[in-house]
Symmetry: C2
Subunit: 156 residues, 2 copies
Amino acid sequence: MKYAQQMTSPKEALDRVLELAVLVHHDMQSSLGTLGLTPSRAHALWELHRRGPGPQRALADALGVTPRHVTGLVDALVEHELAVREPHPQDRRAVLVRLTDKGRATAEDFERGQAEFADLLFGQMSADRFDCLVLGLDEVLARLRPAVATQEVPGA
Amino acid sequence: MKYAQQMTSPKEALDRVLELAVLVHHDMQSSLGTLGLTPSRAHALWELHRRGPGPQRALADALGVTPRHVTGLVDALVEHELAVREPHPQDRRAVLVRLTDKGRATAEDFERGQAEFADLLFGQMSADRFDCLVLGLDEVLARLRPAVATQEVPGA
DNA sequence: TATTGTTATACTCTATAACTATA
DNA sequence: TATAGTTATAGAGTATAACAATA
């Protein structure tokens, strides 16, 4: 009788999580559009920003996509002057991908946008509710991580 | 000094929300894969289940996609024997899309999967934390809905 | 022989534009 | 003339497989 009467059911809570996921995705997409990026390219840009220059193979592993796809992503970043390909100094098979100044600036814009977005979502929330929300999210994530890890959807 | 010292910052909370969105998406994708559906087709199937038979135009509006795309989605559903096209009794321009028994069964499987998933996420959570999490989610959603509504990303 | 990246091919999700049949 | 749906075309996100150059 845990969820009797007026109480919220797990299903309703999941609906909220799903709606949140959709709305966050929309917001991301629109912010990225402003920066001239698609979600996938933004992800690549972001990894390059975090990890610094590296061969495409490393980027493919970091993004969890095929080397073939990285070719296309890097093509697009290069076309938009966000990154450059350079010969790898030690391994002549490989290429180094490096962000340009514009690429770095774009990544930093993105970071600022994230911070603003976080403030919009949580900035005016009471400290109590915020803490409690974070605890709840952590618990849900703890359940979800192992469950998703065992599924291993390759094309996701 | 709301977020001083060890406390979680809005940015860290956003990171949790983002991770949650990604994990939920992965889980969905894998469940749908089991049912032989892509996310987009599942969405179409779901709307058909909720709204009953209707012309493609109505489905396009419900999904927020172009009529052209609905043609493709319905093609796929028909190919997998989840739906059938029927002549519209009043309007000879239009077609009625109706779920087959298999389509209805698939939608119901999906529904059951959602309920199980909700139990996985929230079933063993203490009532207090659960309530608090739901309140926090509601507050975040209340902030997010108007913000996203004004952006109006068409292709999202 | 194993690895890096590319070309080739294919499927899905989207969009716009032009067109057909019907209202 | 407006609407329902399709064909045509296009770009993006993915994948696998075959292949080149290099290790």
